[in-house]
Structures are given as C-alpha cells and as structure tokens.
Point group: C2
Chain length 568, copies 2
C-alpha cells in the first residue's frame, strides 16, 4: 500500500534532495508551513517566471508588489472580515479543534463545504460523531476567522490582518494603476507573493499551507463590452468541465467541450474567463500535467467566495489527494471596486469614450426670466444664477412635493421655472470595471509538477521535469575531487553562470552517485570534467532523459546547452 | 529649500512613474508600508538578482525560502523575544506614542540609540521635553516589542511572530542544509523575502518600513580556521571605516584603509567579514553609488544586536537623511546555532577532519580482571562488561568522592579498576560553526539607486540607472496610435520578449512625451516603429544617455540590444 503512494515518495525525495520539508522541524514542526531548499526555491521561481510569461508579459499586463500586513478597514471593505471564516468544532474533553466540514467529509459525507453551521450540527448529531483523537464529546460547531490577526504599531486598536489573497493590494490601487497604465483599458494587474490563511488544522503537507505563495491577477474590463478578442486563439481548445447543472444532477462526470462552446452554451459566463481558463490548461500542461488529468469544477453558489458570481476550480488528479484545486477562476464582477469606492470615497469608475459622441435629450427645469424678474426685482440676476445651477433633482423633488424650493433665502415656486428638453453631446460613459481573476498557488504547483515528473528507470528515481522548469539546467562534475579537476570544473561553472545558465557544482561521491543525484533533482544536463578536459578541452555531457553521453569541446558547451534548451 | 531636496523629487517621480508609493493611500495610508508599481517591481527584482549573482551564485552558496510566520519558541531561542524591542514614550494627554531615542536624537542629543531607559528618562527630565504634537506631559519611557504578534490556528496559546530577519529560517535548518550541501564546509546560505518590524513611528518613507524585503545570508565557517582564501582578490580595495576606537574619541571621520590593513590592524575581526564588506562596497558601487558616498560605521557594543560580537553598518549618503545604513555586517559567532542546539536538542556541530589523524592520549579507568573475579565470582563477565562501558566521568567522580560506585546493584570500589593511559587516533573534531552575516534591505536600495540616478538634462528628468538594473531594457513605441503601427510594434515587442529582453510597449501621447517618460523610468533604449518600418523593416533606436538615434534593420535589433547591454 505504502509503496504505491506517490505522495510519500515525493515528500521523501523533496526532503532528501533539498526541494522542501516541513518548517521548524527541529522544534517538532508547526502544521501548514513549508521550507524550500535550494532545488525547491529554483523550481518555484521557474514556475513563477513561467506564470509571468504566460499570463502577464505576453499581454503587457502590469505586475505590482504590495504588503502582506493589511489594516483592518481594507478587509472590512472587501467583506473578508465578515466572510473569511471556516467552521470549526472543538472536543469538550481534550480541547482539540477540527475543521468541522473536513471531519464530516472524511467520514464520507458529501458537499460538506456548502453546509451551514446548523446543517453541520445536525450531521454531527445524527451520526453521533465523537472526537477522532480521544473519543470525547464534540461541542457545537462554530466559525473561526481564518486570517492571521495582529496590530500595527503601539496602538492596540490598530488591528491588521495578514492578507489571505493578493487581490486587495491590486483593488485598492486601481485608480493609481489605471493612471500608470495611461488609462489604457482593459487592463490586467498581477501579483506574486506570500499570502496567509490561518487554517484550522491543515494536514496535507504542501497542498494546504497556512503560508503560501499566491500568483494572482485581476483583469479589469467593461461589462458592456465583454468580448475577448483573444478568445479566437484558443476557442477550439477542448476543456473538461463539470458545470453546476451536472452537479445538481449529482453527476461529477466532466463534459468535454470547446471553449467557444462553453461560452456559447453559457457554461462559462465571461469570454475573458474562458480565455484565461484555456491558458491555464495550457500552463498546467506545460508543467507536465496532461489534459486528461485536468478538469474544471464549477463551484456551487454556497461554495463560492462572497465576491464571486461564478467560480471554476481548475483541478488536477493527485495520487493521494484525488482531484485537487490547482487554480481558481472567479468572476468577481464590480464587487471589490464598488465596495472600496463606497468605503474610501475614491472614484473607481473608468471613462469609456463612445466610438462617436451621441446626442442625448435631457429634461431640465430652466429659469423663467420674466417671472423671476417680476418676483425678485433687483435680485433678479442673482436668482437667475441660483436657479440655473441648482441641483435639478432637489429642485424638481421640492416643487413636486412641497410646491416651492428655498435657495439662499429666496422662495422658488413652479411658475419661476419652465420645463425644457435640452440636447447634449455625450462623448462616453463612466463604468465600474468588472473583474475576472485567475489565482494559483505556487507551492502546490511545485509539488504537483514533481509528482507528475516522478518516475523510476532501472530502479532509480528520475525527476523528469519539463526542461524549462528544471531547477538547474546543468550540473558540473569534476570526475574526481582532485584540485586540478575541481579548479577546471569551477571555471566551467563560472563560464556557464556568465552565460545566464542555471548551474551548480557537485564534487562529493562517485560519478555514478552524482549522476543519480542529478537525475533525482531533475537536472537535464550533467557535464563531467576529466583529465582529457585538461589536455584536449573536451567534456562529457550526459542527458538526464536518455542517459546518453556525448563528448564535446568546452568551447561548444554553451551553444550545445542553448540548443538543447531551445529545442522542443 | 524644497527645490533642493532630492527626496521629494524621487518620491514624486516614484509615484508618477509607477515605481512606488505609500500603501493604502485611498484609506489615508498606514505608516511604514510601501507598494511597488510595475517599474518598482522590475527594478527591485533586478537588484535582488544582482545580489544573488554577487553574493550567492559566484560562491556556489545555497538559497532557501522559509515562512514569515514563526512560532514563538524560535524567537525565544534566538533571543529576539527578550531583546528585539525599542524604547517608546507616550503622551499623557493625546496618547500619541513616539520612539523615545529618535525624539531625543531629533532634538540634537547624541548616541541616543545606545541609551538605557533610565538614561533616556533623565534626558527627557533634564530637558523638560513635552509632547511634540500637543505639548502635553510625556509619561515614563518604556520598551515595546517590535515584532508583529499573532497566533497560529485556533489555539490562543500558539503565539507566533512575523520574522524580523530571514536569518532564523536558515539557522533552524542548518543541520538539513549541511546535509543538502553534502557536508561541504564552509557554506553560505542566503534568503530573500519579506520581513516585518513593528516600528513605533516610522517616518522616513521607503527608508524605514514595517514590511520590507530582506536579502540576507549566513556564512558558516570554522572559527579555528578563519582564513578567507578569497580575501586576496579584494585585499587592496580601500574602504572608509569608522572604528569604535574613533567613535570613542568622538571622531566620525572615516579612516581610509585597505581590507588587508583592516584585518591586520584588527579593525575587522574576521577575514570573511572583510571579504564580504569589500564585495558589498563593489555591489553598492554597481548600483550607481560612488565609493566616496559610502562608509562603514562600527557599532558600539551598546548599539549592537544581542547576537553580535562585531557589527559594521555600511552607510551611504542620502540627500535628506544624511548617512544612512544600507547593509549590516554582523559577526554572529556561534550564538544562534548554540542557542538552537540548547533549546531543540539537535546537534548543530560539524565534524572537521584533521589533515591527518592525530594520536591523543587519554587516561581511563579500566577493569582489573583479577580483583573483579575475586569479588564477584560468577558475575565476573557481567561486571567486566559493565565497568568497561560505564561513563568514565561518573565512575571517576563517584570513586573520588564516595570511594565506590553502584552499577546494576554491584558495588565497584577503587581496587576493581586500574588507571591506564590509552592512545587513540582522532580523525577530526566537532565544532559549532561561527557565522558572519551581511544583510541588505531591497526597498532601501531601490530608493537609493533612484536618488543617485536622478538627474536633470535640459530641464527634463533622466533616471540614469546603471543599465543592468534599469527596470526595462527596451520600450517599443509605435510612432502613432494607428492599428498597422501598433500591430507591428506588438510584433517587435513579442520578438524581444522571446529573446528574454525586458520590454514594454507605450502607445499613449506624442513621441516626444513618450521619450521623456522612458527617460524618467530609466529605460536605456527606446525603439520607434514608423511607416518606414512597415516598408523597409528599419527602426529607430534612441539611447537614454546620449539622446542619439540610430536607424537599424529590425533583424539586427536583438543583437544591437545584446551588444549594448553586454558592453561596459
């Protein structure tokens, strides 16, 4: 049984080869925190950069970086203080706390994520569930705020939270970013950085972390012009979708359809969202996870975050965890920008010019010159101006309801004004942009790419990562740990560094063990420096995937490496 | 006056051109937090990568990434819970809180950083200082913990802190990292990531932040073999140092000396520290800050962090802030590794083989066969074994003090053992490594590089950043916002991206305004696509520093760009 669990194997490899391991090990650990070692940092950074290339750079989208510590008012405005919480349940006897919905899910109950506290309580009661740790009685389920809370500076009332998403850092900056983008529209803004979620009891290693690296971007568009001109590039791409409708009919069988179809059949509500889902499928595919191990699960309204009008979880199949969320695609509408507009008073609307100005008719109450002159005599010019500039709504309202309106001590009645239809040119309108948001967790991608790359060849582990995300491109190996070979290897190492090739040296152990180690780290090319190198300048290049070795001149090493990594 | 303050100008430019601005602006801001816009993110990342090249990669050092949230026991072990605090003083009337030593410093008092609470109180009393905000009476100065505090999970007793430095994430992993490095020694381990310091009242914009990006590495070496073989590469480099001795003599005048001299004269206690200080000076120089605007200030014992036996602040001269710390070089000795060894029980010692095994003599109490046989009869073999394997210290101690020792019910007396001198081969020793730590703040470097790059040419701002850290290498400009030109510009943009050149497009405004904008962002090359490009494939390349334009074929653009950036 244990032998067939890839999770154990990848975790063990991760630890042994310096990819990742649980944080604070020497103090017995702390659940939900992960350390990345040298290979893990390198792999994670490659994935982050690939994400940037894929989603930001090719579209000319912006990238920003904002703090993790966030004052409470931002998360009050965004709705997180109210909504970002999970159901927990505590044992009366041993005082241990569990995540209520996960406890039931592990007992085989379906759709626990969308249950209310009452529904959860009823389930626990019906089943007579007891504490899984000590068998004690469980208390009533209740909600726990799952943001890390702290205070800023010396004032205890200055409450702040660790951000659970990078998105708010983008939303609160929308106005400024729109200016930086010189009012180009639509725009996308992304952010990569740590995010914090104070999970109740995370138990899935790198899959569910309390601190993780989020890669998120917000795409702002005009809801009245929702067409995505880029969709045509991917419209024939087939995706596997489980829409709400299927789930309501109790089917988890994915429907296969093209992105175009998904939009036309209103399975995906927004064209831009469909486009980014297509890109995400390709992105995950290029991390080595095939299409048939991917699917998009539409979240039920009760499962969706509070800001979302439609959400798809992109899921992949993991050996131990089954279908696992790898990215979230949320249609956040104008929710966040509107909330911040309300709460901060800053105008988040965008002026959208019409292709050509349109003439609009407008009914206005304009001052009646004769009547005003007659009533107000010498004050006539002043009253004319007051009536001409008064708020139309207030004036109309007062005249209708009370028959008169007071301005600066002058009483205006119905006969002082005339209704008139004015024509006005409108050059555009102000809209609050809508938002679609694709969101990835980098840590989970590191683990998933490793699980799919993990393979056994002649009893040895080879981590067959796609070569463009392999943590290192080349390892340099002096055949023996002799000073002349080590010195030469160091020269080769520096030469590769100069050429911006990711590389490291390994001098310890037999050459066979070092090849095996490089295979486990997933290094595509191993370069061996031997005595021939010192005499005739040739090197051995060994390829991870074929185990074939070729002998080349050291002056060709860089072009050999470039060619290899440029080839498909 | 205001016109001469570069700080204002850089801050204004930072905001206008999307480098950085205060966080949470739309909610009135929160002191000590900074947002990086697209140009700032790009510049910061270039500086981080340059730091990696400079300090980690060229030495083959490791890079790791560990969490920000850190359980309390780690910072108890490291001494931070006890020592990481600042003196604060509160106004009795308006309740505002100030950093006590900074308040006095701003009043012209010297060396306030090293004052005790009593000394601070005496200073306030002598001067009759009142609240600078409301004139109210100030309360007694006291200490504030300057780590952000939170709790992990649902248990309120699970206290944790935001890390104020990245170092502890390295120290607690030393054992594992040493294995990952296959027990190569000495080793260096670095980390780049956010760190948090809950400053009492930060008021220096990007210079003093509550959340910032730290770039830190720990170099572990054998204190009995402290020689740095790399020092010879930089030993003639001159540095400007203000040692403690000068400060005690009330002189802040730097002494100019070579690194070799600084080591020989014991101004710098550790060779490796001198080496890294030399590198740091070069690194800061390559960010555009000349040597005569740099100096190293040795911290007084009372100013040093609790873990440090010697500290130098590398300072640079900033227009508004004067001499400002830009990096810290601390000799942390074995302090951290020893503390974690004590507190966690994990052995952080490193085995250091001798060049050849040495013979050591050891006095041992060995069992006396005849005496034991005589006393214990049939139990003789058992007692022989017990005496032969007993803890020597305990046995000797008991025999000396009590005349006998009990093992498993047998009473051993002096006559059952004989003192014997044994010879033993020792192949090496176990040592707790010592550590030197260079530590940089990336945000401060972004600001400082911008201040030194800020220049005026013919009434226009040019941000003359060194070309290898310029946020973008090339901007692509369609001459006019016409679809054929924009489309062509986009093709050029993608071609540059493919070649891993950092680039963006700018389509808004006259070509002159766009050149000016690119100069303000510090983009070294601007490529203009015009109607000739469409017909004959030529482009204009304009250089930021000369404002000269050259016309080249688009097929030569990439090699032109590469050549430009490769040249000195």
């Amino acid at each position: 049984m244990k032998n067939t669990d890839k999770y154990e194997k990848v975790i063990e490899l991760g630890r042994r080869r310096g990819f990742f391991w649980p944080s604070y090990e020497i103090y017995g650990g702390a659940g939900g925190f992960l350390d990345f070692g040298p290979a893990g940092v390198a792999l994670k950074r490659k994935i982050e950069n690939k994400w940037r290339d894929f989603f930001l750079k090719r579209h000319g989208f912006l990238e920003i970086e904002t703090p993790i510590i966030t004052p409470e008012k931002i998360f009050r405005a965004s709705g997180h203080v109210e909504h970002f919480k999970d159901p927990m349940i505590e044992c009366k006897i041993c005082k241990r706390v569990f995540r209520a919905d996960h406890l039931l899910r592990d007992l085989g109950v379906k759709n626990t994520e969308s249950m209310t506290l009452t529904e959860l309580r009823n389930e626990f009661e019906t089943r007579g569930t007891v504490c899984p740790e000590c068998g004690g009685q469980l208390l009533e389920p209740r909600h726990m705020q799952t943001m890390f809370q702290t205070t800023i500076g010396p004032y205890t009332e200055a409450i702040a939270y660790g951000r659970p998403e990078a998105a708010q850092g983008i939303f609160v900056n929308f106005r400024r970013l729109f200016e930086v983008a010189r009012e180009q529209f639509p725009i996308g803004v992304g952010q990569v950085g740590h995010a914090l979620r104070n999970e109740i009891s995370p138990r899935q290693g790198p899959i569910r972390l309390r601190e993780f690296t989020i890669m998120e971007f917000e795409f702002f568009f005009d809801p009245e012009e929702p067409q995505c001109p880029l969709l045509k590039d991917v419209q024939d791409v087939e995706v596997r979708v489980i829409p709400i409708q299927s789930r309501k009919e109790k089917s988890e069988e994915p429907l296969q359809m093209s992105l175009r179809d998904a939009v036309d059949r209103k399975v995906i509500l927004v064209e831009w969202m469909a486009y980014f889902m297509g890109l995400s499928q390709q992105f995950i595919g290029e991390l080595g996870i095939p299409q048939d191990k991917q699917r998009f699960l539409e979240k039920l309204p009760s499962e969706r975050a509070h800001y979302s009008a439609q959400t798809f979880d992109q899921e992949i199949y993991l050996d131990r965890w089954g279908w696992t969320e790898i990215s979230g695609h949320a249609y956040r509408t104008s929710y966040d920008l509107s909330r911040h507009m309300d709460q901060s008073g800053v105008d988040n609307r965008v002026f959208r010019p019409y292709p050509r100005p349109v003439e609009v008719e407008e009914k206005r109450l304009v001052p009646d010159v004769d009547a005003i002159r007659k009533t107000f005599g010498d004050d006539f010019p002043k009253v004319m101006e007051l009536v001409g500039t008064v708020d139309q709504g207030l004036l109309e309202d007062a005249l209708t309801k009370k028959g008169s309106y007071e301005i600066d001590g002058f009483t205006i009645t119905q006969n002082h004004v005339k209704a008139k239809t004015l024509k006005r040119k409108e050059t555009g309108k102000r809209i609050v942009p809508h938002v679609v948001e694709p969101s990835f967790g980098a840590d989970r991608l590191v683990y998933s790419a490793m699980e799919y790359a993990y393979s056994i060849k002649e009893d040895r582990v080879v981590l067959g990562l796609p070569k463009d995300i392999a943590p290192f491109q080349v390892v340099v190996l002096p055949l023996l740990k002799k000073s002349d070979l080590v010195e030469k290897a160091n020269k080769i190492y520096r030469m590769l560094l100069e050429a911006k090739i990711d590389t490291y040296c390994d001098e310890v152990g037999s050459i066979g063990r070092r090849y095996a180690r490089a295979d486990e780290i997933g290094v595509p090319l191993a370069v061996t420096v031997d005595y021939e190198t010192l005499t005739d300048g040739t090197l051995t290049v060994r390829h991870r995937d074929t185990w074939k070795q070729v002998r080349i001149g050291q002056t060709n090493l860089i072009s050999h490496t470039w060619d290899f990594f440029d080839s498909k």
